[in-house]
């Protein structure tokens, strides 16, 4: 398991490699957060439709 085998840090915090990793991590976090927010919107949308029921389509246009 990845979390169990965290090695001792070997990359100095000022190196270019460090920046690269930091940016990559931040990007992954941003993507994950974006997906979570999208899921929240979707959940509320679907929940609203389900709560309203089929009658939501039953109206004079």
């Amino acid at each position: 398991m990845v979390l169990m085998t965290e090695p001792t840090p070997i990359v100095p915090p000022t190196s270019p490699q460090y920046d690269e990793v930091f940016l990559a991590r931040r990007r992954r976090r941003s993507v994950a957060l974006g997906l979570v927010l999208g899921a929240v919107v979707l959940i509320f949308y679907v929940l609203t439709i389900v709560k309203l029921g089929p009658n939501v389509f039953d109206r004079v246009l």
Binding site: P13, F22, R25, R26, L47
Partner: protein, 309 residues
């Protein structure tokens, strides 16, 4: 991807945690058991529920469990750092800021309760809020560090999910959902004390007053045996009150006998190494046991609905 491998070599830094570290805060393995028992509670409840709302209810219970897990890791990071079982958790390992864990825990807890209230009913949401409060405040902040009965009372937090699932469908608390609660409530002490028996030194180092450290091994084994008898007796009640049928009763009786046998074997063992082994066996068995009991509950119900018996 290349950066994943590199990222493991980078030290923890504020704002530099990986997505996996945040997921680890939610205690995925505990969450899976919570989801499973809550789902059984939801499916057993009379009346039925819209599948979409049922899915959202289970999601809320899972997020609530995750939120309380994050709050637990936030508060317990000091003792997690001295126990071998928990030293690799994101905060003590230095991969994640404590404040981030607190923020994630609070956001998930509030969001899950509000969403469950909107999707199902306020009783279910109230029960979920109480469960999170019980685990994060009553157990983690108070009982865990102050009394050897910590997991007996704290076990209630883990026992609520099927009751929340049931309440999400019916909007009520009934005898049947209380029975589901009671099964997990009585299962928790022998399960954790079996673990505590073979991880005694860990809890001792963290100064957590677990029963083996405070009352000794003999008293712990007695308590495990007593709770095991109470647990197995309780698992048979659903059959006696007509809530469950023969399939469940057979499964509960057979697996219950196995539980009692392992608890008795642990009770009889005195030699240290053999006792640790017996403790580990009971701990592992107890996980499968709870899974089988809840699986038997739903299989029995499905069987009777399909006219198998």
């Amino acid at each position: 991807m290349a950066y994943i491998d590199q990222s493991r070599d980078v030290p923890a830094l504020a704002g530099g945690a990986r997505v996996e570290d945040y997921l680890a805060l939610l205690k995925p393995r505990v969450m899976s058991l919570v989801v499973f028992t809550a789902l059984i509670g939801l499916l057993l409840a009379p009346g039925g529920i819209n599948p979409v709302i049922g899915f959202i209810a289970i999601l809320c219970i899972a997020l609530g469990a995750g939120g309380s897990g994050a709050l637990n890791m936030w508060y317990d990071s000091d003792i997690d750092a001295v126990m071998s079982r928990t030293v690799n958790r994101p905060i003590p390992a230095g991969r994640l800021d404590r404040d981030h864990a607190l923020a994630l825990g609070l956001i998930l807890s509030i969001f899950s309760v509000v969403l469950l209230g909107l999707a199902t009913n306020y009783l279910a949401a109230g029960l979920l809020a109480f469960t999170i409060f019980f685990y994060a405040v009553i157990y983690t902040m108070w009982l865990k560090r102050s009394t050897p009965q910590n997991i007996v009372i704290g076990g209630a937090a883990g026992a609520f999910p099927p009751m929340v699932g049931w309440a999400a469908v019916t909007g009520t608390v009934s005898i049947e959902s209380c029975l589901l609660f009671l099964i997990i409530f009585l299962w928790t002490p022998p399960h954790f004390w079996a673990l505590a028996l073979y991880k005694q030194s860990d809890y001792g180092a963290a100064k957590i007053p677990m029963l083996p450290n405070v009352a000794g091994e003999r008293a712990t084994k007695w308590q495990i045996l007593i709770y095991s008898v109470a647990l197995v007796a309780t698992t048979l009640v659903p059959g006696f009150v007509g809530f469950m049928g023969p399939l469940y009763m057979v499964a509960a009786a057979v697996t219950g006998l196995g539980f009692l046998w392992l608890a008795y074997r642990l009770f009889r063992t005195t030699e240290d190494k053999a006792m640790r082994k017996a403790g580990r066996t009971l701990f592992t068995y107890s996980l499968s046991y709870l899974f089988i009991i809840f699986l038997a509950l739903i299989t029995d119900r499905a069987g009777s609905m399909l006219g198998w018996f």
